[in-house]
Symmetry: C2
Subunit: 207 residues, 2 copies
C-alpha cells in the first residue's frame, strides 16, 4: 500500500493520477495548508522539505514529482507509463518532467511564493507582474517544440501527461492566454475526459 | 559518439564528469556565453531553451541535467552509476537530483539571473540579498537529511555525486558559510580528488 500526502490544487495531482493509471494500491492523506500542517513536526518527520507531495512506500518516503512519477511507472510496468527499456526515450520523458518541475512550476511559484526568493513587497509585486510572461514562455515552448500530440510523446500516454495536465490547471490564473497555446489546451481537455483524472480531482476535493 | 554542449562554471560539469565516470565516447563543444552563442540560431536549433547543457546523441538531443545523468547511467550500465534495477533506490537518486535542479540551482540563479522572474533593479538587489539564506537552507537540508557519506547515497557512488559537487562549487559566491555544512564541504573535497573530476574541470577551462 502506497500513501500519497497531497493537498488540493497542488502538483500532487500528477502523482495521484499516475497511481490510478498504474492501478497501484494506494490511499490518500490530505495535508491541511490552512493550518500549515506541512510545517508540523509530524509532517516534517515524513518530508523535511515541508511540501507536498510525498509518497510513503514500504521502503520509505519519496519526494519530488519527477522521481515519484518514474517510481510509479517502473514499479507497475504493466501500465507502460514510461519507456524504461529505452534509455533515450526514457531520458526524453524525464527531461520533459524536469522542465515542468524546475522551469514551469518555478515560474508559476513566483506569483504566490515570492518570499522564497525575496523579502520586499515591491519585489513580490514585480514578480507577480512577470508571471504571465515567464509562465507563458514555458507554455509556448511546450506548444511549439515539445508536445507531439495527442499525448506529450505522441501516440503513447506516459507520466508526462498527468504532469503537464496538472500544471496546465493554473495557466489562466497565471495570466496566460489559452488562445495562444491551443494544443496545450486541447491536451488538457483530452486529459480531463479520462475517468482516472475526473475521479482523482473529485477525491482530492472531497478528501 | 556523444557531444556535450557546455560552458565553464555551469551545471554542465555534472554531466561531463558522469560521461567520464561512464567511460562514454564523447566530445565537448563549448558555447560562448560572452557572445551570447546560446541565443544563436544554430544553437537554438539544438536546444530551443537557449541554455546549457545539451547532449547530442545518435537519437537526438537531450537536455535537463537530471535526465542527462540518468541517460548516461542507463546507457553505460557497467559503470553502475545508478540503481536501475531497484525502483525505490533509483527514485531516491532521481529525487535528490530533482531537488538540486528545481530548488538548489533555482535559488542560486536568483543571484545573477533575477531577470527571469522580475523586471526591476530593486527586485534583483532584493533577490541577491536573499540568496545566502535560500541557498544556505538547501545545503543545510542536504547536510542534515540527505547526504549519507562518503558519497551522497553511502558507499555507492552515483550520478548524484557529480551533480552535488558541481552545485557546491558556487556556495561561497552565494554567501553560504562552508563551516555550517562541513559534510557537504568534505564531499566536495573528496570529489575534487578524483582524476575524472580534475580532468573534466581542466578540459572545460582549456576548451
Amino acid at each position: 500500500m502506497l500513501t500519497l500526502f497531497y493537498a488540493p490544487h497542488t502538483c500532487s495531482l500528477a502523482t495521484h493520477i499516475a497511481l490510478k493509471d498504474a492501478g497501484a494500491d494506494h490511499q490518500l492523506r490530505r495535508i491541511d495548508f490552512g493550518t500549515s500542517e506541512q510545517q508540523s513536526p509530524e509532517y516534517l518527520a515524513i518530508n523535511p522539505k515541508a511540501r507536498v507531495p510525498a509518497l510513503l512506500t514500504d521502503r520509505g518516503v519519496l519526494t519530488e514529482t519527477p522521481a515519484m512519477l518514474a517510481y510509479v511507472a517502473q514499479r507497475y510496468p504493466a501500465a507502460q507509463l514510461a519507456p524504461f527499456d529505452d534509455p533515450f526515450a526514457l531520458a526524453e520523458v524525464q527531461a520533459f518532467n524536469s522542465y515542468l518541475c524546475a522551469t514551469l512550476h518555478v515560474a508559476h511559484s513566483h506569483r504566490m511564493r515570492g518570499y522564497r526568493w525575496a523579502s520586499e513587497p515591491s519585489s513580490f509585486a514585480d514578480m507577480q507582474r512577470k508571471v504571465p510572461e515567464s509562465v507563458g514562455a514555458c507554455f509556448t515552448l511546450i506548444e511549439k517544440s515539445m508536445l507531439k500530440g495527442p499525448w506529450v510523446f505522441g501516440a503513447r500516454y506516459t507520466i508526462a501527461d498527468p504532469y503537464l495536465f496538472t500544471l496546465a490547471q493554473w495557466l489562466e490564473a497565471d495570466g496566460v492566454d489559452p488562445a495562444s497555446i491551443p494544443r496545450v489546451v486541447e491536451h488538457r481537455a483530452r486529459m480531463a475526459e479520462r475517468s482516472n483524472v475526473r475521479e482523482a480531482i473529485a477525491e482530492e476535493l472531497e478528501g
